[in-house]
């Protein structure tokens, strides 16, 4: 809030024709984006909050006309007391805990290695890492699905038959799809940060006799820290959305129930016309996502200084 007042050295005391023109310009530039933002971002969230406060009742028996009545936080109570919701939360929590550090490690390690590789070779590697980013999650899941299934898996050629779709391995299997798809993107993100480090810093470090390890650990890592934090926030937001992989994999695996993640749970509630219940789940998820990423940013900020 303080930033808002601090950075507004009022444009307000202008002559009116100039002011009107300035306002028209502002509306022209900001209007379209913010109208779309209000209509397709704020409004649906507002509507979901409204919807989550309702519950459906049928008048005149089971086949009667459904009406909606205000029911306060009853839907949220129902969500929080539903074991299937908590089961989904547990899955996603575990997924976040594995995926976020793993992704950051892969991205940072590869980017640091590429940073000390001959530029032409580095470019070839980086491009090859980036290719899966162009593969949609649905396709990636179908693709890995065939690689996971004993029989069509390349491991079968070496007579190793592991069922990656079994109960215990299905989450690591999903983690792997995420790393495969987004790993290269994270490498590019880190590389961009690394290339923006002024070369003079390296020169002076070299003069001081710093080894490559010392440069990576004491110079590069601290300097790209903001990017690492940003990529981790992106990963947290991405992982919270876990839906596509399990939804597609559920068609070939028995280990994935319809409530495997909160998103899947909400989706099937919508399919079953439990709109208010689904709205309550969505609102909860949006809040959790907001709070989690915000907390993470705050925590990592504090540790930097």
């Amino acid at each position: 809030m303080t930033t808002v007042t601090a950075t507004s050295p009022g444009t307000g005391r202008w002559k009116s024709p100039v002011r009107t023109r300035a306002l028209v310009t502002r509306a022209g530039f900001l209007g379209p984006f913010y109208t779309a933002f209000a209509l397709f971002f704020l409004l649906p969230i507002g509507f979901a909050i409204y919807e989550s406060l309702l519950s459906q009742r049928r008048i005149g028996g089971v086949f009667g006309r459904p009406i909606e009545v205000f029911s306060g936080l009853r839907q949220f109570g129902a969500v929080f007391s539903d074991p299937q919701f908590w089961s989904g939360i547990k899955t996603v929590a575990l997924y976040v805990c594995i995926q976020v550090p793993l992704m950051a490690t892969v991205g940072v390690t590869l980017a640091l290695l590429l940073d000390v590789t001959a530029p032409r070779l580095a470019r070839v590697f980086r491009t090859s890492y980036f290719v899966p980013f162009a593969v949609s999650t649905v396709v990636a899941t179908i693709l890995w699905g065939t690689l996971y299934t004993p029989g069509s898996s390349p491991l079968s050629e070496f007579h190793i038959n592991i069922d990656f779709l079994s109960h215990n391995l299905v989450l690591p299997a999903i983690v792997n799809i995420g790393i495969w798809e987004w790993g290269g993107f994270n490498v590019v993100l880190m590389t961009t940060a690394l290339t923006s480090i002024p070369t003079e810093i390296y020169d002076s470090a070299r003069v001081d006799g710093a080894s490559r390890w010392a440069m990576a650990w004491h110079i590069k890592l601290p300097l790209i820290r903001p990017t690492i934090v940003m990529s981790m926030v992106l990963t947290i937001i991405g992982t919270m959305q876990l839906f596509t992989e399990p939804q597609i994999m559920a068609q070939i695996s028995d280990s994935i129930p319809t409530y495997y993640t909160p998103n899947m749970f909400a989706y099937y509630q919508i399919s079953a016309d439990n709109y208010s219940f689904a709205a309550a789940i969505s609102v909860t998820l949006a809040l959790v996502g907001l709070v989690l990423s915000f907390t993470f940013i705050r925590l990592t900020r504090r540790r930097t200084y």
Binding site: G12, T117, G183, A210, R212, H218, Q247, L285
Partner: protein, 312 residues
């Protein structure tokens, strides 16, 4: 904690060897030649392993997509088996009246339309936020940044609830319109306008009597191009890959994007054998345009990035 702290004094010693006059190695400027070789071989090995990890599955997809129907489980995944790509291609062209290509077109429509309009809107708004000071500017910006932290899927279901009420769920619009809004694009465009558009140039344009719109379209857009391309690309990929939103919104097969189409096929493989092949062929085809667009635009955007690096 102790492990993390321990290397610190040692490392800073290494950095300070010249000053302390007690170098641990005869050549403080370079790592020893042998050690360098070992490290370099190790490095290249790691990089190669990851290249195989990232590219291998795509290779397996190409192999699998060229196999005859019903042979996926009886032939190895690593070597071609009676390759018949053109036959498989003709299957997918003819299946369901070429429905797959309709999905491909739909995906292109959603992605190009959504990312195109979205980047234009975000570019204009980001430019304005960067160049003009006014009351509430940071508030407007932070509101959108906050939006970046809301998981996209947490938005898809509310959008459906809203659009179902307004009876526009199921139409092309129901997927296209929400795709236009991208908080990340606004963020990127503002940052790129801040970095790439010199205020003096905008002032000069004003003095020459150009309108704000003219300054934006003929000066700023050109300077912001790398940022705009990146925003477009990110949004394009996001829409092309989106699954949940079209899945909840759309009912008619004719309006599906590729992702939802392939997803429904995956659910039907147990009933229809041919679909097992078609999914793989379809998956392969859907990857091709994106990879091409990527390689082409990546060069574009990489040159922009390096330009930005020189400036900074």
């Amino acid at each position: 904690m102790a492990v993390a702290v321990a290397p610190d004094p040692a490392r800073s010693d290494a950095v300070l060897t010249k000053q302390t006059g007690a170098p641990p190695r005869p050549l403080p400027d370079r790592t020893g030649q042998v050690a360098g070789h070992v490290a370099s071989t190790f490095k290249v090995t790691v990089l190669m392993v990851f290249a195989v990890y990232f590219l291998g599955p795509v290779y397996c997809l190409v192999i699998a997509a060229t196999k005859p129907t019903n042979s996926i489980y009886i032939s190895g995944a690593l070597l071609p088996y009676k390759p018949q790509f053109w036959t498989n291609l003709s299957y997918i062209v003819n299946y369901g009246g070429g429905i797959y290509f309709r999905w491909l077109l739909n995906s292109a429509f959603y992605a190009i339309g959504g990312a195109g309009i979205g980047t234009l809107l975000a570019g204009a708004a980001g430019y304005y936020l960067a160049m003009f000071r006014f009351r509430g500017r940071e508030g407007l910006f932070l509101m959108v940044i906050g939006g970046m932290l809301v998981p996209g899927t947490a938005l898809a279901l509310p959008l459906f609830l809203l659009f179902a009420r307004l009876s526009i769920a199921g139409s092309y619009w129901s997927v296209l319109l929400p795709s236009i809004v991208s908080p990340f694009s606004l963020f990127l465009c503002r940052v790129s306008a801040d970095a790439a558009v010199p205020r003096e140039m905008v002032e000069a344009g004003r003095i020459d009597g150009a309108s704000e719109a003219r300054i934006f379209f003929s000066i700023a857009v050109r300077l912001m191009l790398p940022g705009l391309v990146t925003a477009f690309l990110a949004q394009f990929v996001g829409i092309w890959n989106n699954y949940l939103l079209p899945l909840v919104m759309l009912i008619s097969k004719d309006t599906y994007p590729v992702t939802v189409g392939l997803g429904t096929w995956q659910g039907q493989t147990t009933h229809t054998d041919i679909l097992e092949t078609l999914i793989l062929v379809g998956a392969l085809i859907s990857v091709v345009p994106l990879v091409i667009a990527f390689l082409f635009l990546q060069r574009f955007w990489r040159s922009g990035l390096s330009l930005g690096g020189v400036k900074a």
